[in-house]
């Protein structure tokens, strides 16, 4: 008898859970990088539009793309980097952007837009800019130099990480040897491969996400990572600093795109437009420490942010930055080199 009572209680709990949550508000499915939007802004958007926003996260462009191809359809807004947005567009996976629904596009910074792949914003809208570089602990590395050679330093053996991202990490190897990070020359790629394999013997892990906490908790003292991620954890550990390697590195546009099978296209446009509202964009930039290339929003940024050389790098630094491009069929060369790196002892 007691058992029946228990089953009854569990049934009620289940019913309450199922019933309680299924109010029929419109739902916006978003696929984004982790920690890449201020949560309060999402809540504000939900209140404004009487909808629910469900965010799933991915940790690399490739994994996001693979998941979509495997049948994860039904996202309304996705945040790929621009080279991946181009691939998705070439694969006919995206809907055209409707500029009429996005009055805030006029706020975008033309200087940065010139660097973008989809300048006309036909299928993508820029979201944030990020620079890939080196995060490190100033107190533990007094002899730090802003150079990729730091990954060879015996002082960081077993306490540094490289990104688990084919294009970024091979790109770092290419840059360290003085080549373009979009090189398709077999000889240059072979040099980059040997460079990364040399680093691999010194690192603790190839890692895209854990490096943030790892650096903050001083588990790692040198990490290859994205500018905003490192700036975000500066708040937790004041010894953290970010450097742009002097050999050059990559700058990435992360875009917002609407996939072909989106269920709520109108709401997706509203969301994109909302994120380019100057005040919203400024608040988001302050929170996630990446730069939203929205010129109208700069006026709302704090002085500290406006003077941050990582967010607004001086011209000579910008000249050293390169955008990762889609290489089409040549991509197979990178996959092969990446496999050799992963398998090397």
């Amino acid at each position: 008898m007691k058992k029946m009572k228990w089953i009854g209680i569990m049934g009620c709990v289940a019913a309450a859970l199922l019933g309680g949550c299924s109010k029929s508000k419109p739902v916006l499915h978003v696929y984004n990088w982790a920690d890449y939007i201020k949560p309060e802004l999402v809540e504000q958007f939900e209140a404004q539009e009487q909808c629910r926003v469900v965010i799933d996260t991915f940790d690399s462009n490739e994994s996001m793309y693979a998941k979509l191809k495997a049948g994860a359809t039904g996202y309304d807004v996705i945040f790929p980097s621009s080279y991946m947005a181009k691939i998705m567009n070439d694969q006919d996976m995206l809907l055209p952007i409707n500029p009429a629904a996005l009055p805030n596009l006029k706020n975008l910074d033309p200087a940065y837009l010139d660097l973008a792949m989809d300048r006309a914003m036909a299928y993508s809208v820029p979201y944030m800019l990020s620079i890939t570089g080196i995060g490190y602990l100033t107190d533990r590395l007094p002899d730090f130099e802003a150079s990729w050679t730091m990954f060879n330093d015996p002082a960081v053996k077993g306490a540094c990480t490289l990104l688990n991202d084919m294009r970024e990490t091979i790109g770092a190897g290419l840059k360290a040897r003085g080549y373009s990070l979009n090189s398709t020359s077999e000889a240059e790629l072979a040099e980059a491969r040997d460079q990364v394999i040399e680093w691999k013997r010194n690192i603790a892990k190839f890692e895209n996400e854990q490096y943030k906490n790892g650096l903050a908790s001083e588990e790692f003292i040198l990490v290859h990572g994205y500018s905003g991620d490192i700036l975000q954890v500066q708040e937790e550990n004041e010894n953290i600093d970010f450097a742009i390697p002097r050999e050059g590195t990559s700058i990435t546009f992360d875009d917002m795109v609407i996939p072909r099978d989106a269920r709520n296209v109108a709401l997706a446009h509203k969301f994109i437009n909302y994120l380019h509202d100057p005040e919203v964009a400024a608040e988001n930039t302050e929170y996630i420490s990446y730069l939203c290339p929205n010129k109208a929003s700069y006026a709302y940024l704090s002085e500290e942010t406006r003077e941050n050389p990582i967010l607004f790098p001086p011209e000579e630094v910008v000249a050293n930055l390169e955008v990762v491009a889609d290489l089409g069929e040549e991509n197979a060369k990178y996959t092969k080199v990446w496999d050799q790196i992963k398998a090397a002892e």
């Binding site: 007691k2 058992k3 228990w6 289940a14 859970l17 199922l18 949550c21 739902v27 499915h29 696929y31 982790a34 920690d35 469900v54 965010i55 799933d56 996260t57 940790d59 998941k67 495997a70 049948g71 994860a72 359809t73 039904g74 996202y75 895209n208 996400e209 854990q210 943030k212 906490n213 903050a216 908790s217 001083e218 937790e236």
Partner: protein, 257 residues
């Protein structure tokens, strides 16, 4: 005669090994210091922050929806499979037994991979439904094995007696057999439920938009989230586990009575 003490020492060491990480986790969940290097004072801060994490609650809801529905269906399929395996013999049941047994030993990653390719081949949309289908597939085998073990201790003459008294086979099965097997079916259901709640690898392969389950959420928290929040969440899960274990003990005790 002197007995070796090695078995005793091994047992104690292994139990220490089992509980040390869990104990550290529980203690750290009350530690005010964020990275748990030292003791920063007692605090309930992480539990309070946990309550504000709506992604966790959303994931928990997905997990429970799948666990309840997958358990319900797999109990029906698994119990009927156990009946079949117990009552009948022959080539068909040998094949049936192999099919029930193999998923128990196949590594998760193979099952996840094959189900993903199956859904790709069908061009199915990945969603809560695909996770549900995957979970039922591995739960059937566990339920069938648990119920089968109970059936082997069962005295079928009772069912025959009911039939002699005029009940047809179905009435006898429904009115006599099923109630007597209820504790076994309950234990199978509980096992299916906990396996479904805990599954990460298979769900990770077949999850789609908005169908993040709790283990998938925990995995991404391990990657980039705040460690003390995972500690606090783990302690909550531990408490739930203890309640479930206690509940299952109650079930078996009742059976003995």
């Amino acid at each position: 005669m002197k007995r070796s003490r090695i078995p005793l020492y091994t047992t104690c060491l292994v139990l220490l090994f089992f509980y040390l990480p869990i104990a550290v986790l529980v203690i750290n969940s009350f530690n005010a210091s964020k990275f748990g290097g030292g003791w920063g004072g007692f605090s309930l801060r992480w539990y309070r922050e946990l309550i504000d994490q709506r992604e966790i609650w959303h994931a928990l809801r997905n997990t429970l929806v799948i666990a309840f529905s997958a358990t319900a269906l797999s109990v029906v399929l698994g119990t009927s499979a156990a009946f079949a395996l117990h009552r009948f013999t022959g080539r068909l049941q040998r094949l049936h037994y192999t099919l029930i047994y193999t998923p128990l030993v196949v590594p998760d990653i193979l099952m996840g991979m094959s189900l993903l390719l199956f859904f790709v081949a069908l061009s199915a949309q990945l969603s809560l439904l695909t996770i549900f289908l995957a979970h039922v597939t591995f739960c059937i085998s566990y339920v069938a094995m648990v119920v089968l073990a109970r059936l082997q201790d069962f005295d079928f003459s009772i069912v025959e007696a009911a039939q002699d008294l005029g009940a047809n086979w179905w009435t006898a099965a429904w009115r006599v057999l099923l109630p007597m097997l209820a504790p076994g079916i309950g234990a199978g259901a509980l096992l299916a439920f906990t396996l479904s709640i805990d599954d990460f690898v298979i769900s990770f392969f077949v999850a789609g938009p908005g169908s993040t389950t709790l283990p998938i959420r925990i995995y991404s928290m391990i990657k980039h989230g705040s460690p003390p929040l995972i500690n606090a969440l783990s302690v909550l899960l531990l408490v739930i586990t203890f309640v479930l274990v206690w509940f299952s003990q109650k079930l078996t005790e009742e059976k003995i009575k």
